[in-house]
């Protein structure tokens, strides 16, 4: 049976790993390839690097990290952040990454998904979506949005770009359907409301996107406990759960987490 994946995410800038809490207060946790290999040993199924380096001129530092990682890491890894062109994608894949993740550029120029998936195969094109809830008046709901009843109220999800800084006013669920059509092979779905809170994943969001698409969905944002990861796998059909700080600061041991998931009959690679 296809196993559910556990994916540590390493945010990095200038070749070093960081993790922002609610996208601010950045802390340093080391060398990316070194951490990645450590995660492989602990049982991670895949690694995602998100490069949040502001300057595009420092791409050679990123490429060095990608190359060093591919020399040492024997599980798949994805690289995202700052990808603007098909050429960027090609350079990163050539340096040894298995997949690239595209966020802002996909929103601004959606055809990059089609072009890149044709050139390199949809299996290596991950579309990252940052989504934030917009609660609406139940008596006068907007008509052109996918509305979902959550325990916190009726809402839709808005797409954000530039690392969560700019609201686009685009329905995130409709956007997820669109990126599948355009050729994305996978969606990394991050809840802006839950990211960094350690309150658990946005289950209604994840559930709705899984229901309305036919490509693997990586749930992201909000993992704080083993129970949260159990919940997202039990309550939704997502393919993978991503987390960052709880792994970096050893609050959760991946092996222990996987054993707990197996007890719940969640298919997992041990």
């Amino acid at each position: 049976m296809l196993a559910k994946r556990i994916i540590p995410c390493l945010d990095m800038t200038n070749g070093r790993v960081v993790k922002g809490v609610r996208f601010v207060n950045i802390r340093d946790a080391g060398d990316p390839p070194e951490l990645a290999v450590l995660y492989e040993e602990q049982g991670a199924d895949e690694i995602i690097f998100l490069d949040i380096t502001a300057s595009h001129e420092k791409r050679d530092i990123l490429l060095d990290v990608v190359q060093r990682t591919s020399d040492q890491l024997f599980i798949p890894f994805t690289v995202g952040g700052g990808i603007r062109t098909v050429k960027d994608i090609q350079t990163i894949l050539k340096a040894g990454a298995d997949k690239v993740s595209i966020n802002t550029t996909a929103v601004k120029t959606p055809e990059i998904l089609t072009e890149a998936s044709r050139m390199f195969g949809s299996q290596c094109i991950v579309c990252a979506i940052d989504a934030k809830r917009v609660y609406v008046d139940e008596k006068a709901p907007p008509k052109d949005r996918i509305l979902v009843e959550t325990p916190e109220g009726l809402c839709w999800w808005d797409v954000y770009i530039y690392g969560g800084r700019k609201s686009m006013g685009i329905d995130a669920i409709q956007w997820a359907q669109k990126v599948e059509e355009l050729g994305a092979g996978e969606i990394m779905l991050t809840s802006m409301d839950y990211d960094g809170t350690k309150d658990g994943y946005d289950i209604p969001l994840t559930k709705e996107v899984v229901k309305r698409t036919n490509i693997p969905i990586i749930a992201s944002g909000g993992a704080g406990t083993i129970q949260h990861i159990k919940d997202v796998f039990i309550q939704t059909d997502c393919s993978a759960a991503l987390a960052a700080s709880i792994f970096h600061f050893r609050e959760i041991d991946i092996m222990e987490l996987k054993k707990e998931l197996q007890k719940e009959n969640i298919p997992i690679r041990l």
Binding site: L2, R5, E40, D71, F74, I75, G96, Q123, R269
Partner: protein
């Protein structure tokens, strides 16, 4: 033999760096090459690759003869993913294309009942425990797959392991000195590295 020298066939299909890192990790020396002399002087041939079957055969055209004659002379061979599919007779991916025809059988698309590509960690069910490639590998081990097509071998006896994804398909085949896996051993962590190590050990013997 102290150091095993492998020729990784460079035919512009996907990531050759990962497979070479994996083989180096288990102690082989590798050359990514399309030079017939390097292929001839190697201790073993590896065809990795990701991409479309037809394009791959086109890119391999000039090397086809040397690869086939080397294999026929008994040189150990490892095919990975697309390199696994290429050793069969033909594929239906984007029209009918002829393969290397080392083994009989056709490469066909995974059923529409499942999401393709089949991507992620899935289990192998070992059918032939005596094969050197699966030495020390547990039944139901997880390995990493990325593919939308799979071969149906004419001769079932070459199947070393199968995997289930909408259908039960051959995920490892072997005959004498010829080995191939649908999954990526170079991306399958400890289990995958052990399989690569088994291939190297086979060559050493």
């Amino acid at each position: 033999m102290t150091m095993v020298n492998l020729a990784i066939i460079n035919y512009e299909m996907g990531n050759l760096k990962s497979i070479s890192s994996g083989l180096k990790k288990v102690g082989a020396s590798v050359q990514i090459t399309k030079d017939p002399n390097v292929i001839k002087s190697s201790d073993g041939i590896v065809i990795p690759g990701v991409g479309a079957f037809g394009d791959a055969m086109k890119n391999l055209a000039s090397l086809k003869e040397i690869i086939l004659s080397q294999i026929q002379e008994g040189k150990p061979f490892l095919g990975v993913c697309l390199g696994f599919q290429l050793i069969f007779e033909e594929s239906t991916e984007f029209g009918l294309h002829k393969g290397l025809n080392i083994f009989g059988g056709r490469v066909i698309r995974l059923p529409e009942t499942v999401v393709t590509p089949h991507m992620g960690w899935n289990q192998i069910f070992i059918k032939d425990y005596t094969n050197p490639l699966v030495e020390g590998i547990d039944d139901k081990s997880y390995v990493y797959f990325v593919h939308s097509y799979y071969p149906v071998p004419t001769a079932p006896e070459i199947i070393i392991a199968t995997t289930q994804y909408g259908v039960e398909f051959a995920s490892m085949v072997a005959k004498n000195h010829i080995f191939a896996t649908q999954f990526h051993p170079e991306k399958s962590s400890t289990v995958g590295l052990k399989i690569l190590k088994n291939f190297i050990n086979f060559i050493k013997k």
